[in-house]
């Protein structure tokens, strides 16, 4: 069992390494993708500077909370897209029958697929996330908690993407549903929970779990509610398990399109 896990990690690591090396062939494009993503993320801070010039707090968040919210959002987005970019294209892959290439490999289909491509600009998001942490107040414990919660958030984000992407096993035009769900996570992640009604909050802690990915970690870091980390970890494990089960169940319904493709 341990050898199987070890081998899978090794294969995923090589897949990531070679995908990244492929992206680095054109160094100008590689660097401009990273630098411009940092600038791109930074521009949205202006929105909050304007809002805080009008009021002292928005939905219970001051500038410190916004910095952490923004940092976590960028870091979660960055980690999930850097290592598991393909998870966000799952429904399209299923619809076009391109999953065939992963079925014939003697490794786990889901893990092999989601680690098959990288997003270079996501490196810029991760760098930006840590810049936000630095502006919030850098300490070793903050760095540790921030990194842990980012990984937990990214795990939930990828799991949600797999769950919605797997709908394509049952529904033929579900790619739009999956991309809308991913977009909704991004939209809500950038706004404090205090501005929403209780009904919306229920949605944000369940089917669009931005509350668990972002709002709860903001509370952990800014208010020191470290016990909530356990709840975050349990949620991440549950979402992972659910995503894996749904994908495996759907995979039984998958039928090849006999599409001939080569993976280089």
């Amino acid at each position: 069992m341990l050898t199987v896990v070890k081998n899978q990690i090794k294969v995923s690591f090589y897949s990531f390494k070679y995908s990244l090396m492929r992206e680095m062939i054109n160094k100008t494009t590689f660097l401009s993708n990273i630098i411009f993503m940092i600038l791109n993320d930074a521009t949205l801070i202006i929105q909050w500077l304007v809002l805080f010039s009008l009021v002292d707090e928005v939905g219970g968040y001051g500038m410190r909370e916004v910095l952490i919210m923004w940092g976590l959002t960028a870091n979660i987005y960055g980690i999930s897209r850097l290592f598991f970019k393909s998870a966000y294209n799952l429904s399209n892959t299923i619809n076009t029958g391109k999953l065939d290439a992963y079925l014939v490999q003697p490794k786990n289909v889901l893990i092999s697929y989601i680690t098959s491509s990288v997003s270079v600009s996501a490196i810029g998001d991760i760098i930006f996330g840590y810049i936000m942490l630095f502006l919030f107040g850098f300490s070793f414990s903050n760095l540790l908690i921030f990194s842990l919660l980012s990984i937990v958030g990214a795990t939930i984000d990828v799991s949600i993407s797999i769950i919605y992407g797997s709908l394509a096993f049952w529904l033929s035009r579900s790619d739009r549903v999956a991309s809308t769900a991913n977009d909704m996570i991004i939209y809500f992640s950038n706004h404090p929970e205090g501005i929403f009604s209780n009904f919306i909050k229920v949605i944000l802690y369940s089917i669009i779990p931005v509350g668990i990915m972002i709002y709860m970690p903001v509370r952990i870091i800014t208010q020191g509610k470290t016990l909530l980390i356990i709840f975050s970890l349990i949620s991440a494990v549950l979402f992972c398990w659910l995503a894996y089960k749904i994908f495996q169940r759907g995979l039984r319904r998958y039928s090849s399109s006999s599409l001939m493709i080569s993976r280089i």
Binding site: N33, T43, L51, L54, V58, V177, T180
Partner: protein, 263 residues
């Protein structure tokens, strides 16, 4: 001009086949408006409050119009298409055709966004009427002027995005430049009117793409005045010329660097 008209028309016909897809993308539009409705209702704790002469109703209408322009223009797709044309060498097929590549790109994209623009416009108006009850200080007589400004704004934005897309001749992938361009429009125009920014920035923003592509149409919609109309159309005319010359310059310079492998 007839050939560009046919390209434009062909794309409208093609897009009419995908109305369902466009309507699904309304969900994102609705959600963003819903989020901004919550943000502004929180900030305007007292509904009679005015911030920089804008009421809460005007602010939400402003965002409805700016987001509508933002979604309908689909700039990311245009920029990606130009980048792909250059990277894949597909542009070579357009170069030897009896039309200008710039004209082709503009006609193609404007045809593509016309249907979605009309649908987003209708959806935005319905949503605004349901959420806010009415349109502030808008008379029917102003609508033709606002429509002209909207058409100009979409054409200018399309041309400016084309300029950004043509950067692909030099660095293959122009997407990072588009991110920056789009975020500047988003932050300085879509979220807030330019009156919300410090005075020194306002002077600059009044002559920036934000003013002609996003702020202008939305400002006229929520607070129409003939003085503003004249000013916005003047700056838009100037931008039409600058953006067109920019497209031509970038294309002519870039195409000299093009190196396509046969196959």
């Amino acid at each position: 001009m007839r050939k560009y008209y046919y390209i434009f028309k062909a794309n409208i016909m093609s897009n009419l086949q995908y109305i369902f897809n466009i309507m699904i993308s309304f969900i994102n539009y609705f959600i963003l408006i819903f989020i901004y409705l919550n943000v502004w209702q929180y900030i305007y704790s007292d509904p009679s409050k005015l911030i920089y002469h804008y009421s809460v109703q005007q602010m939400v209408w402003y965002v409805i119009i700016t987001e509508m322009l933002w979604f309908a223009t689909s700039g990311r797709i245009l920029c990606q298409n130009i980048s792909n044309d250059v990277r894949s060498g597909n542009i070579a097929y357009n170069m030897n055709k009896p039309y200008s590549y710039i004209g082709y790109v503009l006609a193609n994209h404007l045809g593509e966004i016309l249907v979605s623009g009309l649908l987003y416009g209708t959806a935005g108006l319905i949503m605004g009427l349901i959420l806010l009850g009415g349109i502030p200080t808008l008379s029917l007589a102003y609508i033709p002027f606002i429509l002209i400004v909207i058409i100009f704004s979409v054409i200018i934005n399309t041309m400016l995005i084309t300029v950004v897309g043509l950067i692909s001749f030099w660095i293959e992938d122009s997407s990072p430049f588009y991110w920056l361009y789009s975020k500047l429009l988003l932050v300085f125009g879509v979220f807030f009117p330019i009156e919300f920014f410090p005075k020194y920035l306002q002077g600059f923003l009044q002559y920036s793409p934000v003013y002609v592509t996003i702020y202008g149409p939305a400002k006229l919609f929520v607070d129409f005045s003939y003085v503003n109309l004249f000013k916005i159309i003047s700056v838009q005319t100037l931008y039409l010329v600058i953006a067109y010359l920019g497209c031509q310059y970038m294309y002519e310079r870039g195409v000299r660097k093009l190196n396509v492998n046969g196959g």
